[in-house]
Every structure is written in C-alpha cells, then in structure tokens.
C-alpha cells in the first residue's frame, strides 16, 4: 500500500499497436512490478505460441448485429490503442475479431451475452489472442455480458465505443477454471453525454490481469466502474483501472471490493485517474476495499490521482484493506449465529451494495452463489 511517486500522466504515456514498441517487461517496471511474470506463460515476451483454443460465441439481442471480421476491418482499433506489451501482443496476434453493433437509437430488448470459453485444460495447449469491438451508436442502449469460462492462456482487447447519448452496461465475469491465465484490456471511449456502467467480477483462474480504462471524447460522459473479486489460495487477481479525464464536465466513479483467503492469495488493485488541464468540472471518486479473511493473503492497493486543473467538481480516492471485524462477528455470534454463518453474513454484507448494482438477475444470482461457494471452501 502507498501512493505512487510517479505521476499518472507518465505511467500512461506510451501507446502503440506494435508490440516491438514496448520492451519486454522485466518486473521492475511500475506497471509490471506486482505481476508474477513467470506465470504469464510467455504472453509478455513473445514466446506464447498461438496454439490455444478459445471459442467466442455470442447470444445477441435481436436488435443487435454480430459480425466476425478479419484484421483489416477499419472498426478495429478505432477506440483503443494498446498501452502495454501484452495488449499490443494480443492486438498483433488475433486472427478474427468480433464486432457487435447496437444501431442508432435502438434499445436492446435483452442482454447480449458473449461467451468466451477456453477449451484447454488449465493453462495447457498454448495461447489464444482475441479482440472484441462493441459499438453502441448514438442514443442506443444495451446490456452486455462477457462470460469467461474454461481453461486458457488468453490475451485480448475489448473496445467499447459508446456514442453520443448512448448507454452501455457491461458485466464481465472472469470465471475461469483453475490454472487459466487471462490478460485483458477493456477500454471504453465515451461520446457526448454517454453513459457507461461496468461491472467486473473476477473469481477463477491462476492469474487474471484485467485493465479497464475509460476516456472521453466530449463533455457529459458518465462512467461507473464496479468490481468484485474473490481471491483463493495461490491466485493472482489484478485489476488496473485507468480513467483519463481529458474533456470538461465528465464523471467517473470506481468502486472495487475484494475478499481474499488462503496462502498466496494475491489481489492487486491500481486506480489511476488523471484530470487534465482542459477537464474542468470533472467529478471523480475511486474506492478500493479488501477484506483479508485469512493469514497468508495479500492485497496491494494503489490509488493514484493526478489533478492538472484547478476547477474540479469533486475528486477523491480511498483505499483500505483489513480483516474481518471482530466486533461484527461477536455481535452476530452473541445472537446464537455460529462463527461460519456469521462470517458468511459479514462477507455478504461487504459485497451487498455492489451486488445490488448487477441488473441482470441471472448474473446476480450466479455471482451470489459463486461467493457462497467460495465461502464454503
């Protein structure tokens, strides 16, 4: 824990479609120092052969179009330029991209579900690179579920281009099998008065490093990024948030909460926010909380806010990691509730407000029962 000394603007200065523009990480770089590179299966140094098997299947709302396109499609890379080595590697290596379009003024009648399923056992059989583009045209509204399951070594980029006055709500579930490795960038580019709601749930996999980022092309953009993770023994679950306020009068709110249990359970949360000189009237808040349920678990939490304008509407961050509160447990036990049940109630309580934000009921139920299952371990 602790604040970074390097300004956010420096940390995110590099971007390129070409992996060769990024030196191979050594682990000493600010952006790589928390990630166990040896467990990346070569995703970071060009040695991960693209021989894996991950299928992407889309169950779309009837109003939404789904295309599978080649690398040369002009919509790819329109909203996002890779910002680190693995992201650029994924960009340079994918064969087919999935492009999802919510047409102008259309309100999708049901969630569109993208199943990303790894067919490997754990991390075996090589790597897979992917790319997804989601375009929500002006005034359109849609809910999207990204559901990652199975075994894989998977690196991908997901671009969300949210047009003027449009609303996109995304739930991204990282529910990988044990042993899976996933390194992913989710970038949302918000147009004028666009609304973006992201709900990230990361539960499974040996190593997941997910970097959700947001940028704004015009005033009035509103981004709400929520995350929930449950880290078990030996797992490394890393979330790197990056919100770039470059235009006036936009809003961002980041709330990530995680529970950790077991030896070697490691959570990393980085919350980088910049309010650039031109971004007057910005309102931003970011929060990360970690609940350490056992010894041997570790949470690194680094909020980092750089403000380059004097005219902000609000800017703040908070980060706290702590154990279960003995007083909470005592109070519940003093009413006859056994320890395990008391702990379950308190952990549920810790996540309760977040869970309420998941609007897709099946997903909320699934996350709830996944949390139950984790607690029963």
């Amino acid at each position: 824990m602790g604040l970074e000394t390097m300004p956010v603007s420096k940390l995110h200065a590099e971007s390129s479609y070409d992996p060769a523009d990024f030196p191979v990480p050594t682990g000493r770089e600010e952006e790589w120092r928390f990630t166990p590179l040896s467990r990346l299966k070569g995703l970071h140094n060009g040695t991960a052969a693209p021989t894996g098997n991950v299928v992407v299947e889309v169950d779309a709302a009837p109003e939404v179009t789904v295309e599978t396109v080649g690398r040369d499609d002009s919509r790819i890379g329109a909203a996002y330029v890779p910002s680190d080595r693995v992201s650029a590697q994924a960009y340079a290596s994918f064969e087919k991209a999935t492009v999802i379009t919510v047409p102008r003024e259309v309100v999708a009648s049901r969630p569109t579900v993208i199943n990303v399923r790894g067919l490997g056992e754990g991390a075996g059989h090589g790597a897979t690179y992917g790319h997804i583009v989601v375009r929500v045209e002006p005034m359109a509204q849609a809910v999207l579920v990204l559901d990652h399951t199975g075994g894989a070594v998977y690196a991908d980029n997901v671009e969300f281009a949210v047009g003027e006055g449009a609303t996109l709500k995304v739930v991204s579930l990282q529910d990988w099998a044990d042993g899976a490795v996933h390194v992913s960038h989710h970038h949302a580019q918000l147009g004028k008065d666009a609304t973006f709601r992201s709900f990230v749930v990361t539960l499974g996999g040996d190593l997941v490093r997910l970097s959700p980022s947001v940028s704004y092309t015009a005033p009035g953009g509103d981004a709400d990024l929520t995350g929930l993770y449950f880290v078990d023994a030996g797992q490394h679950l890393e979330h790197r948030l990056w919100v770039d306020h470059g235009v006036p009068n936009c809003r961002s709110n980041v709330t990530y909460k995680g529970a950790l249990q077991g030896d070697g359970a490691h959570a990393v949360w980085i919350g980088d926010v910049i309010i650039r000189a031109e971004a007057e009237g910005t309102d931003t808040y970011e929060l990360n909380r970690n609940l350490l349920l056992t010894d041997g678990a570790r949470a690194d939490s680094v909020p980092n806010l750089e403000i380059l304008t004097g005219e902000v509407a609000g800017a703040g961050h908070a980060s706290a990691s702590g154990r279960l509160d003995d007083e909470h447990i005592f109070y519940l036990q003093a009413r006859g509730i056994p320890y395990d049940e008391a702990r379950r109630l308190v952990v549920h309580g810790f996540f309760a407000q977040l869970l309420e934000k998941i609007e897709v009921e099946e997903i909320r139920e699934r996350v709830l029962s996944a949390v139950e299952a984790e607690l029963a371990r």
């Binding site: 509730i337 308190v346 309760a352």
Partner: protein, 248 residues
C-alpha cells in the same frame, strides 16, 4: 427453572485486572439491578459472561443451569439461553435487520422459522416497540439513533426468548416515551415466566418500570453492597462516593 451463577469471577483486559472476584446468582423469576460508577467494570462483567474475545477470564466460573459457560463459544452461550443487550450495539454493514434476525432466530431455535410466521412475529415485535417497519430492510444498527439501537436490542430479546438476559444500560439515552416502550418490552419478557434479568443501569428511573428484586452496588470490579429496591433510591440520593472510597 434457570439459574445463572457467577462465582468469584476475575477478568482482565490485556494485563490489567478489571473484575476482582464477582459473585452473583440470578434465577428465573428474579430481576437483579447492578448499579455502579463509570469504569467500575459493569460492561466488562456483561461482555465476559457473553464471551467477548477481548476479555480474559483469569479465574472463577460462570454456570448456566450447571453448564460451564466459559467452556463454550460465544454462539453456544447464546444458544444455551444467554442474552446480552449491549451498551453500544454494533453496526453490521450490509446485513439487513430482517436477515440478521432470521439468522439469529434460526440458530437459537435450531430450525428455520416458517417465513410467514417469522414475518408476523417480526411485525408484532416491531409494532410493540414502536419500531418503524422500514427498519427491517435497513442494515443492522447502521445509522440507528441511540434509542433506536436500544429498541432493536429489546426486539431481539423478545424474539430470541433467552433464559437469562443481561441488559447493559439499555435505558441510557432513551427519552421518556422510549424508556416506557423499552421497559414494557422487558416486562413482557419477564412475564413469560421462566426468565431471569440482570439489569445494569445508572438510573433509578428504569427501575420504576422494571422493578428489581435485588440491587447490587458495583465498584472497583466487584459487588460491594447488596440490598432490595430501596438501595437504588439511596444510591440516587447519596451517589457512589462512599463505595468508591471503600473499594479503592
């Protein structure tokens, strides 16, 4: 008939001894009041009986109907029939009152109550204590006023129906109406028969509603004087000064 027996109880926090030999027996049908100055160890007694992890029992015994309470976990004690209404009820974020109470009732009864029955009991209980039904959906004690927290403690008392209830300053911070409502709740609990009450208080005003059979003066970590209800009036008039001096 239930009996709580506290025998020569010594309790420390860290290496600081706070209780220095407490002896007290509370039987069903009896109401005992404990009065004593700030910091004399009244809450320590209550917490130690309930099994709060901060308090170390250095010697002595606590028995409920002959069973060794000190060998039990906090929840086992509660299920055995002990209830502690806390001086400062704990806020539990994210756990709704109804969820909390249903879990507690399920644990104490050993089976989940029928949903409809529970909803009815809860509603009646809340009505009787003038608790707004909307509180059922709020997080346990979170943002409750002092008085609301105390009513919520008595609601739990009535729902859980323990054998022995220890009420730690349940009257503190209550306005006159709330005091009456809470006292009525305690009296309903007493009227159920096979129950004993140990009431910790600073003031005689609650004792006008909830008549004690015995009054104990607590000072310097032990009981220094015992008597009937008239002792409370004497304390109100004369204060604790003579006892504090004697126990120092």
């Amino acid at each position: 008939m239930s009996t709580l027996e506290i025998r020569d109880l010594h309790v420390a926090v860290g290496d600081k001894e706070i209780l220095r030999g407490v002896n007290l027996t509370v039987s069903a049908g009896e109401t005992h009041a404990i009065m004593g100055p700030n910091g004399s160890g009244k809450s320590t007694l209550a917490y130690a009986i309930a099994g709060h992890p901060k308090y170390t029992i250095t010697s002595g015994a606590v028995l409920l109907d002959g069973e060794d309470m000190l060998a039990m976990s906090v929840d086992e004690r509660a299920r055995a029939g002990l209830f502690l209404a806390m001086q400062y009820p704990v806020e539990v974020p994210g756990v709704s009152v109804s969820n909390f109470l249903r879990s507690a009732v399920t644990a104490v009864r050993g089976e989940a109550p029928k949903l409809r029955e529970f909803a009815k009991d809860l509603k009646n209980g809340m009505d009787a204590l003038s608790i707004d039904p909307a509180f059922a959906q709020r997080n346990t004690n979170e943002g409750f006023s002092g008085g609301e927290k105390k009513r919520h403690e008595i609601l739990q008392l009535e729902l859980l129906k323990p054998k022995i209830a220890v009420l730690d300053e349940t009257d503190s911070g209550l306005d006159v109406d709330a005091l009456r409502v809470v006292s009525e709740g305690i009296n309903r609990f007493r009227d159920t028969g096979d129950t004993g009450v140990l009431l910790i208080t600073h003031y005689t005003r609650i004792l006008r509603y909830v008549k004690p059979d015995f009054v104990h003066v607590f000072a310097g970590g032990r009981i220094v004087e015992e008597g009937g209800p008239e002792l409370a009036d004497k304390l109100e008039d004369e204060g604790y000064e003579s006892y504090v001096k004697a126990s120092a």
